[in-house]
Amino acid sequence: MFTAELTALLPRLRRLASALARPPADSDDLAQASVERMLRARDQWQPGTRFDAWAFRVMRNLWIDTARANARQSARRAPEEDGLNVGDDPQPGLEARSELAAVRRALAQLPPEQREVVALITIEGLGYAEAAAVLDLPIGTVSTRLLRGRTALLQLLAGKENDRDN
């Protein structure tokens, strides 16, 4: 039962990992670490409850600590850029990776708490209440973060188009 659920969910777990992990981090490393944690924590899943929500929660919790630490570190490394490049990628190199689609680069530039909401709702198709349960947040907070994230994506992608035109 458990392994069948997990096997069936693997493609979606890879997709979520790909949306969460910031290039050039290997999203399959996140997916693998998550699967390993699920195998160890398999007793915590209650049969009859939604497996995908449980699995997404395991992956997100595994990812968030690292993502937050990286975000803090990036903020400390480049304080002089604050105000000059608002919304720009604090990690040198990422912006220049032209093989990455613009939308993927834009998503990677969102702060972790906005990226996870966009990943779960817009990419994975969860409802707001489902995402709130995965993230253990009030639905109002999820809704606010989604709006911020989606609005930032609009601005980032509009900026990309302007760059191309110039």
């Binding site: 693998q32 817009t122 989606r150 994506l153």
Partner: protein, 243 residues
């Protein structure tokens, strides 16, 4: 008269989060307001781009290191009498070469998964691990090592037994390492059920590497009840036929 719609309501409407009444209200407002209408289109375009970027991942082949094997149907030809197989390979000291790549492929797919159910193996050339009625079983040099070898015997040969322990089901289990595989086997009747097998070689380039993932030690952690056997406990267990 214009109805005021905030951006959060607009997004919730696009995401199908509103009740029918609310949705009708937002829909009317969007139709009447070019700014809202343009914003809705822009949000739709970004959502489309995101899905176009990430949805193709669903169609990709899942890498072997992520696959958790549950059950692979055994070909009819592979259902053989285990005793006959074992008798046929009595005296054999190493698994047949031509079988190894197939095992490596299987084992790689188990790199992070516990074995449950039957797995498919080439019945023509089984080696250390063969399919049995209740799952995979130890055979050949692995079965011999598990029956007779004490843990950490120096220069033990093709198969090295690492530690012995009792699992939470009360079975005696032993972790083992061979040239290209490592795993865990637990006493089942007069034989050994192989509960986990990890690849130690990368099939693609033939280079040796330790299995990625938690490794056998981590799997032992999930199974063990109490502490691993010390030398005296292990000798006593062997004297009792690993019961």
């Amino acid at each position: 008269m214009t109805v005021t719609i905030d951006d959060a309501a607009l997004l919730a409407w696009l995401d199908g989060e509103l009740s029918a009444d609310e949705a009708a209200r937002v829909s009317a407002a969007v139709s009447a307001d070019p700014r809202l209408s343009a914003l809705a289109d822009a949000h739709r375009a970004v959502a489309y781009q995101l899905r176009a970027e990430f949805d193709p991942i669903l169609a990709e082949t899942v890498p072997a290191r992520l696959q958790v094997v549950t059950e692979v149907t055994l070909p009819a030809a592979a259902v053989t009498d285990l005793a006959a197989v074992r008798a046929a390979r009595a005296g054999q000291t190493s698994p047949p070469r031509r079988w190894l790549p197939q095992f490596a492929a299987l084992a790689a797919s188990l790199a992070i998964g516990l074995l449950a159910g039957r797995a498919s193996l080439d019945s023509g050339a089984p080696g250390l691990v063969v399919p049995g009625a209740g799952g995979l079983q130890a055979a050949g040099p692995l079965a011999i090592a598990l029956d007779t070898q004490l843990a950490a015997t120096p220069d033990a040969g093709a198969v090295q037994v690492a530690i012995s322990f009792r699992d939470s089901q009360g079975r005696v289990c032993r972790s083992w390492q061979a040239e290209r595989q490592e795993g865990i086997a637990c006493r089942a009747g007069d034989g050994w059920a192989v509960t986990a097998a990890l690849a130690r070689a990368s099939q693609a380039d033939g280079r040796y590497r330790m299995a990625s993932g938690p490794g056998v030690a981590a799997l032992v952690d999930t199974m063990i009840a109490g502490e691993p056997f010390d030398a005296a406990q292990e000798q006593a267990a062997r004297a009792l036929g690993w019961r």
